[in-house]
Symmetry: C2
Subunit: 239 residues, 2 copies
């Protein structure tokens, strides 16, 4: 059984401000919660249906809820057995650019897209993402669900991208419509890869910093690719 | 001004059954509707805000609606100026497999994912998709919006995939977790590429037909890639 206060508290965590003050995030579903439990993530609280709780090693630490209670606190259309409140992992003050490929996201506002990009970065071993201030929040519940646990392994910083790029001396690559063919590009082991918003592209104050523009040759009629699909294709050719 | 009957009729078009009986689909937003207008698609009806209508060459054929009226008929969270009812283009009885790469989708239930796959296929010049009966409907409004007009150029058939593959003699490739490295695979110009559901994979009755399994090597911790990202990466390496 869940208290009214707990319901209220969880609902406040759908707002970035409260999440950041409390330094927590919400994760739902057996797959994701199990992944958090096996990773070095501090779980503050778990609310779950009895069936799920009884399969766990420490069922006593879990608050058992009924389906209609889970419905109240879940952000999913179809609540999925368990909801956990987890501590946001500590992130270094600044990304370590030397010897790494770091993804730079400019205006990726759609949370599902951001989650898929985090997951794709993780697949290719990219551990760092620097995102513009208007990119979706990493701990937005939709981002968490779409990232499928990859957010534990990928660190993310929000910055004024234009200002920040002006201070970096590392090679800067960008996904553009009229760049060099990424299918024949050299592999890289260090650098920044800038991905822009799929309808607006990379914004004007960021463009001047791109030294190596990369394009995905197409032969059909589509005007653009989804940002996460483009990220996946480029990483698969240059990493 | 929009009539009550029109509102009711449009709401019935959110159901696949009515869409198929009426052989129409709904498209929203200036970008998509403009693309339909320039393509050889029959537009049955357009409902739009005055600002949008006045920019068109035939404003008289457009039903002007107020914002609150557009809200009533729109499937978007934020209605976007214009909604059109368009005729479903005629599709050949069967796909033409000879000399073409045809995408085969097994259980892609998420409409956003299907729309992104259609758009990605279009980018790489793939014109045909055969999908399992439980794959989302091509004319589902969310698929239409995510495909960004690519659905005009890509034909799609729903079939019992297992039965259908048993009758084809063309080469069948499949995206699998333990297949040949797609980064070093040969380019192909003819064949079927089967993409499975990202959590369940390709289903058991389809697996025996896969003659060439392809994998995307990863080095990070993610268990799987999003189906549309995987489709994009594989197509970028083999087409």
């Amino acid at each position: 059984m869940i208290s009214k206060n707990d319901v209220k508290y969880i609902q406040t965590l759908f707002h970035k401000k409260t999440r950041d003050e409390e330094r927590v995030f919400i994760a739902e579903g057996p797959k994701l919660v199990n992944e958090l439990l096996t990773a070095r993530i501090t779980i503050k609280k778990i609310y779950a249906l009895r069936e799920w709780a009884e399969q766990q090693t420490k069922p006593d630490s879990i608050t058992i809820v009924a389906e209609h209670e889970l419905q109240k606190i879940s952000a999913l259309q179809t609540p999925n057995q368990v909801l956990a409140i987890a501590a946001q992992p500590d992130v270094m003050h600044e990304p370590n650019l030397t010897g790494n490929i770091t993804l730079v996201l400019d205006g990726i506002q759609d949370p599902g897209n951001l989650g898929t990009i985090i997951r794709t970065a993780d697949w290719f071993g990219i551990k760092q993402i620097v995102a513009s201030n208007d990119t979706a929040d990493k701990y937005n519940p939709k981002v968490v669900q779409a990232s499928m646990g990859s957010l534990i392994r990928v660190s993310m910083w929000h910055k004024d991208i234009g200002e920040w790029l002006a201070q970096t001396t590392i090679k800067i690559y960008g996904a553009m419509l009229n760049g060099d063919n990424v299918f024949t590009a050299n592999k890289i082991s260090e650098g920044l890869l800038v991905i822009g918003n799929e309808s607006k592209g990379i914004r004007a104050d960021v463009l001047p910093f791109i030294r190596h523009s990369l394009s995905i040759p197409g032969r059909g009629g589509a005007e653009s690719l989804n940002a996460s699909v483009a990220t996946g294709i480029i990483l698969s050719h240059i990493v």
